[in-house]
């Protein structure tokens, strides 16, 4: 039984089709990610699910509830971290937790939440004094304060440094491991690949692919790349004879071998060794979600 079911969601802003027939289901206990470039329709979709925006067409069901007609009932049972929101600068962290806990019928232990999110020492600090990462962690704590069944996270790690981003990923996995469903949006492909159980790739308001990150990547049937530099002369025709190699690119001393199949790397290294070819800086590049996105939309994901 899906905890989120979206059927042909449409949302228009004038002539812009922000969501153009978005359809998917989210299973209980999974981290479901929606990835796509800025303006693809991620935030529109998540805000329709949260009840912040009204869908122009389509059916939405979250925990069996309609986010528009049963919004207050739904808000008791979901937790939300918004892409753009704030709190009064002079409100202290502990006061924020106490206040929000009072809004819900059910509430989690706020001291324990602050502890888990590494904010226990900041309990007496004012919101305005927190760093970007600390504010973001406080918003996650708020999203968990009612012990929700589903947690919505919109662009959770945007603006955070890589270290803080990794910490955040561990936190989100911890939320899932406590039995909650997580719906998140991101425009970082590596974040989706690392964090999500299933990923929907959205572009121009439409879902263009939906599967586990591993399946998405393998469905591409993309080549693995082995890159190295030569330390002497070598005949590249040799590389073409290695089983599994599909093509070879060379520019100066730099060689890129494209190929498929398990053991490609071992065969390439052995061929180099038996032919006594000297090389350095060898590395492999696996296809990633980034390549999936490029293949599906014909454009680079990176900003």
């Amino acid at each position: 039984m899906a905890v989120i079911a979206v059927d042909r969601l449409h949302k228009f802003y004038g002539d812009v089709r922000a969501a153009n027939g978005v359809t998917f289901e989210v299973n209980p206990g999974e981290i479901f990610g929606m990835v796509g470039p800025n303006g693809a329709g991620k935030t529109t979709t998540i805000e329709c699910l949260e009840g912040l925006r009204r869908a122009d067409e389509g059916r939405l069901s979250i925990l069996g509830l309609d986010p528009q007609r049963q919004g207050y009932e739904l808000r008791e049972r979901i937790g939300v971290q918004l892409q753009e929101s704030s709190l009064p600068d002079r409100l202290k962290v502990r006061e924020v937790m106490g206040l929000f806990a009072a809004f819900y019928r059910r509430s989690a232990d706020s001291e324990a939440l602050l502890e888990q999110l590494g904010l226990a020492e900041k309990a007496g600090a004012a919101f305005g004094q927190l760093s970007g990462g600390q504010k973001q962690r406080l918003f996650i704590a708020l999203a968990l304060i009612n012990d929700p069944e589903i947690v919505f996270l919109d662009e959770l790690t945007t603006g955070l440094d890589p270290q803080a981003r990794r910490t955040m990923w561990e936190l989100v996995k911890g939320v899932r491991d406590r039995g909650k469903t997580v719906f998140l949006t991101t425009h970082y492909m590596e974040e989706a690949e690392e964090l999500c159980d299933r990923v929907a790739i959205i572009d121009h308001g439409k879902i263009v692919a939906l599967d586990t990150p591993r399946n998405l990547v393998s469905s591409l049937d993309a080549e693995e790349r082995i890159v190295f530099s030569l330390d002497g002369p070598a005949d590249e025709a040799l590389f073409r004879t290695i089983p599994g190699v599909t093509r070879v690119e060379r520019s100066g001393s730099r060689v890129i071998i494209f190929g498929r199949g398990d053991g490609l790397l071992v065969r390439v290294v052995m061929a180099l060794d038996t032919s006594k070819i000297r090389f350095r800086d060898l590395r492999t590049e696996q296809p990633s979600l980034e390549d999936v996105f490029l293949a599906l939309t014909g454009k680079e994901m990176r900003d």
Binding site: E50, L52, Y72, E73, R75, E76, V80, L82, E84, S85, S86, L87, P88, R90, L91, E95, G98, L99, F100, A102, F103, Y104, R105, L142
Partner: protein, 247 residues
Amino acid sequence: MRGLWKLIGVQMKLYLREPAATFFTIVFAPMLLLLFGTIYGNKPEAFFGGRGMVDVSVPSYIAMIIISVGFMGIPIATAASREAGVLRRFRMTPLKPAAYILANISSYYAMTAVGVAALVLVGKVVYGMKFQGNVLSVWAGFTLGSLAFFALGYLIAGIASTARIAQAIGMIAAFPMMFLSGSAIPLEVLPQSVRNVSRFIPLTHVVTLMRGLWTGESWVKHQTEAAVLGGVLVVGIILSARFFRWE
């Protein structure tokens, strides 16, 4: 319900942590009273119908506290929370919008009352201010005036696109009103030409009502003030509800 009370408490705490808001609501009017009290004292003057400067100033300054909360406190804070996305965050909880606004108004009302209490206390303790009115009647007048001006404050917040614009509109509207309504300077000392203009300023009606009730006059004698302020309240509520925005 628990959320509502908690929110009222938090809003009041936040108010007290804002130095400018605290100053204009609680400190400014008693300070002004001490300043003019030191200069003029509180001797009965025929000019003020046998009352002293302080006796007349206390009910007038109440109007000043009301407008500083209504035209500066409320519009700036409301527009700023909207701009920063604070209102968005509250909307994502089961708290009803009406409860949020009720909590907001209650905390402003409470802080305005604290300001009035501080003013009365200084008047009483330092100058032995005279009070001949009925406490309940005066309280009702204070409540009517406060709510009418709060409604206008939310209207300013709704019209202004940003907190800075809300601040500008509030200040531009508030300062002339303060000085032309008799709230800062008694109407008696203003020239007739100014007093002709004063009649059209809503705050003047708060001053007249408070000064009247303060000396024990009945509401029957102040039907005009009651009608004007009641009208401002009703129109203010309708328009502020019409222009209110969460985002």
